[in-house]
């Protein structure tokens, strides 16, 4: 085996080392504004380990390709949980799928680390920030490289932890801390699904390693049976948590409380796609469970549409992007649910590019606004689009690059998003023959595409065009960030444009490189669940419909929206009617709060604790028994009247009782 492959362990180890180093730096006192040398050290460590990891990854993937291994390469390191017939080994696995993820993760991460150097430069928690970010990359790499479910679960929960830490990075704001906690908790709900799925897998197949499980599954589990359906559905529950699908999507918009690069990295490009990765990784299992696959696709489609509606009426630039992310993740699930695993992964990759770009762009915008407000000591919301407008003049690079990303997201050819989205929609449509439900999914996807084009155009219009609403004095301070920030934008922009080339379908005389690359991984699934060929004409119709819908969305937005009529956020009137419903996100958070959170807290506090614990068990039971004893004792001591006459009566009573017992 080529030498580079043996260094696979180093890929996650590098960020881990970065975490340790930066973590120790972060714990130095006093934490407040770090001196420039210290900051430089942090940057070098934080970015350096990532760049090294990226370089190593590239080398490894190249080596892997050269090796031309048909199957995955598994690198066991040490036995983790050897108990009886359970053998969990800490092992990494490299196959075509994880190679793709490896590159995406290290690549996007490197760019975003770089961007962060500029974006977070003046933050007092600079070292801590990089420590967390490095830790995140470590866990993400464990997630994508893990060779078994438990090892993957380490990464799975680990990235959730980092997400928690980074969302609540500015922990002294209650809203940030709340958002972090919410993210963790909602993720945990999903994680339980993952956990239970592991239990089921082990119970049915006696192993938790990917290779044996996937190899055995078709033999051991009846296709469409209860067991496989349960396993896949529980796995998918995990995915809904991590990848923000209905019903567990609510944490993701709140997660925007974290620093914007974090949103780009974790909440757009990498972590949230872990669910998609998981389904793709378990493609064999899903191929065996058509019902579960349909559920995956259905939830995906529904989420895609639902989240898009909410995005229509958000004012916070990052929230629009967040709902857009939720929506796009829905697409990916629609893809993998439809059996188009490669398409799902393809969309994952392209989405990573353009959504990271969008977030970083918005970060650039926010950074600019923030600095402007900071310079004039205003306390306006730097993320509200109503405070923006006309920024294209001040941030030309950002504006242009974001337009690229928008078009990619909207699915306008030839940008990356067009190819991936189209592949998903046609995969869904093709299944309409199996069951008409898939047509509904397709339709939902199409509608979501329309809405996507609309809200993205709206975002661009309100942010970069029309009059500037930032303020007279502030607008003088608006300008582009340093090169470390714009540099990554440019790279991502290029990828957003060219990313589609990864998998140009045969329709466009492409070679569907990614699909073929992933074939070793999806081979079994494809055999189990062959793709349905769609007539060429239909395919073209679908493409045209999708593009038309996207164009319609952009056109409608351009025609209907009036950026010049907007007023700054603090002067804006409250939303009314349906707009308010959308603005309030269909009141889902409030409904959850009312139906689940509050009753649970009330139940715990008033019923379980105060009534049952303190009242019944402790009060009536324990202390009650003690008090009863004391009362009985007191009553008894009252009988000890000191009156001899009474004692005699007791005595004779006792005598009679004894005599009666003696001769009954």
């Amino acid at each position: 085996m080529p030498g580079a492959l043996q260094l696979l362990w180093l890929v996650p180890a590098l960020p881990l080392a970065g975490f340790v180093a930066n973590g120790l730096l972060a714990l130095r006192r006093p934490p407040a504004p770090p001196a420039p040398p210290a900051r430089r050290a942090v940057s070098i460590i934080g970015v350096g380990v990532l760049l090294a990891a990226l370089a190593l990854s590239v080398a490894i993937v190249l080596a892997f390709q050269r090796a031309g291994a048909a199957g995955p390469l598994v690198f066991p390191y040490w036995e983790w949980l050897p108990v009886g017939d359970l053998h969990v080994t800490v092992a990494l696995e490299l196959d075509q799928l994880s190679a793709v993820m490896l590159l995406v993760v290290t690549g996007v991460s490197s760019l975003i680390h770089l961007f962060s150097v500029g974006y977070m430069g003046e933050d007092p928690g600079y070292a801590r920030y990089f420590a967390y970010l490095n830790l995140f990359v470590f866990f993400m790499l464990v997630l994508v490289l893990g060779a078994s479910f438990p090892v993957m679960f380490v990464g799975w929960e680990g990235v959730g932890l980092c997400s928690y830490l980074l969302i609540g990075f500015w922990f002294n704001e209650r809203i940030n801390a709340d958002a972090g906690k919410k993210a963790f908790l909602v993720n945990r709900i999903g994680d339980v699904g993952f956990l239970v799925a592991m239990l089921l897998i082990f119970a049915h197949m006696g192993s938790l390693d990917f290779q044996p499980v996937f190899a055995q599954a078709p033999k051991l589990l009846a296709p469409g049976g209860a067991a496989i359906t349960a396993i896949t559905l529980f796995l998918f529950l995990g995915c809904t948590g991590k990848s923000a699908q209905i019903p567990l999507y609510t944490w993701l918009p709140d997660a925007m409380q974290g620093p914007t690069p974090v949103s780009a990295l974790i909440h757009a490009a990498t972590m949230v796609t872990a669910g998609v990765y998981l389904v793709a990784r378990c493609n064999v299992l899903y191929a065996l469970a058509p019902v579960a696959s349909a559920v995956v696709a259905g939830i995906g489609a529904l989420t895609a549409f639902f989240a898009a509606t909410i995005a229509l009426k958000q004012w916070d630039i990052k929230r629009v992007l967040a709902y857009s992310t939720v929506s796009q993740l829905g697409y990916m699930f629609l893809g993998v649910g439809s059996g188009a695993y490669a398409a799902g992964i393809f969309h994952l990759v392209t989405h990573a590019f353009f959504k990271a770009l969008l977030f970083l762009g918005s970060g650039s915008v926010i950074h600019a606004l923030h600095r402007a407000y900071h310079a004039t000591h205003s306390h306006e919301d730097a993320q509200d689009m109503r405070n923006m407008g006309g920024l294209a003049r001040h941030l030309p690079w950002t504006s242009k690059l974001m337009w690229v990303a928008t078009l990619a997201l909207a699915g306008i050819p030839p940008f990356a998003g067009f190819f991936s989205k189209d592949a998903i929609l046609s995969a869904a449509f093709s299944l309409g023959d199996v069951h008409p439900l898939w047509y509904v999914y397709w339709l939902l996807g199409l509608l979501a595409a329309l809405l996507t084009a609309f809200y993205m155009t709206r975002l661009m219009l309100y942010t970069f065009h029309g009059p500037n609403r930032t303020g007279e004095r502030e607008s003088a301070h608006l300008h582009e960030g340093p090169w470390v920030m714009t540099g990554p934008l440019v790279v991502l922009g290029a990828l957003s444009v060219a990313g589609g080339a990864l998998n140009v379908p045969a329709l466009f005389r492409g070679h569907a490189w990614l699909e073929h690359w992933l074939e070793p991984v999806t081979a079994v699934a494809t055999r189990l669940r062959p793709a349905i060929e769609v007539p060429l004409g239909t395919e073209w119709t679908l493409v045209i419909a999708a593009v038309a819908v996207a164009a319609l969305g952009i056109f409608a937005a351009l025609r209907l929206l009036r950026p010049e009529e907007l007023v700054p956020a603090r002067l804006a009137p409250a939303e009314r009617g349906f707009a308010r419903l959308l603005w309030k996100k269909w009141y889902v958070d409030e409904i959850y709060d009312f139906l689940l959170v509050r009753p649970l807290v009330w139940l715990s506090r008033e019923v379980l604790w105060k009534t049952i614990d303190l009242g019944l068990i402790d009060g009536a039971g324990v202390n009650g028994a003690a008090r009863l004893s004391q009362v009985l004792g007191w009553v008894g001591s009252r009988l000890q009247t000191g009156q001899l006459g009474f004692y005699v009566v007791l005595f004779v009573g006792g005598v009679l009782a004894v005599l009666w017992t003696a001769v009954r």
């Binding site: 006459g645 009566v649 009679l656 001769v663």
Partner: protein, 171 residues
């Protein structure tokens, strides 16, 4: 009914009457005197029951010594004069009657001669014929029952010491 029986029942009646009066008289002195009647009646019963020596002792020790001591103390404490009754009220009476009655019936169940043990050897009457009235009691008292007898002496000594300790004006 033989003469013995007549005598027995007569004195039994007297004894019970005395006891009943003893516990119901208001004045302690009256109670004491009624008790003396009971003790005398018992002495008579002892005679009927072949315990002449004990009967004599009964008169001497009980009626003669102990009851005098009682009367002496009653007088000393000046309790002889009529005062409020020390009898308990109707509730007390009811309780006493009830419990006393129940106890009586319980004891009566036990005190049935049919359950009594088989005579070990000679009856009292035979012993007295053989050894005389005093001898029949005295012989075993100083042989077989010597140890209890000696204990009695210590007991009386202890009682004397105790009485002195408690009652002496100045130690």
């Amino acid at each position: 009914m033989t003469l013995t029986q007549i005598v027995f029942w007569t004195f039994s009646a007297l004894a019970v009457l005395g006891a009943a009066m003893c516990i119901t008289r208001r004045s302690p002195v009256a109670s004491a005197l009624w008790l003396v009647q009971t003790l005398f009646a018992l002495a008579a019963l002892f005679v009927v029951l072949d315990a002449q020596f004990v009967a004599v002792l009964q008169v001497l020790v009980y009626a003669g010594a102990i009851m005098v001591l009682f009367l002496f103390v009653i007088m000393l404490l000046n309790l002889g004069r009529p005062g409020p009754s020390d009898l308990k009220g109707p509730v007390g009476l009811a309780v006493a009657t009830l419990l006393g009655g129940l106890l009586f019936f319980q004891l009566l169940r036990g005190a049935t001669p049919s359950a009594a043990g088989t005579p070990a050897g000679d009856t009292m009457a035979q012993l007295q014929q053989e050894q005389g009235i005093v001898g029949a009691v005295a012989r075993p008292l100083f042989s077989q029952y010597l140890i209890p007898f000696e204990i009695t002496s210590v007991l009386l000594l202890a009682a004397i010491v105790g009485a002195v300790v408690l009652a002496k004006r100045k130690l």
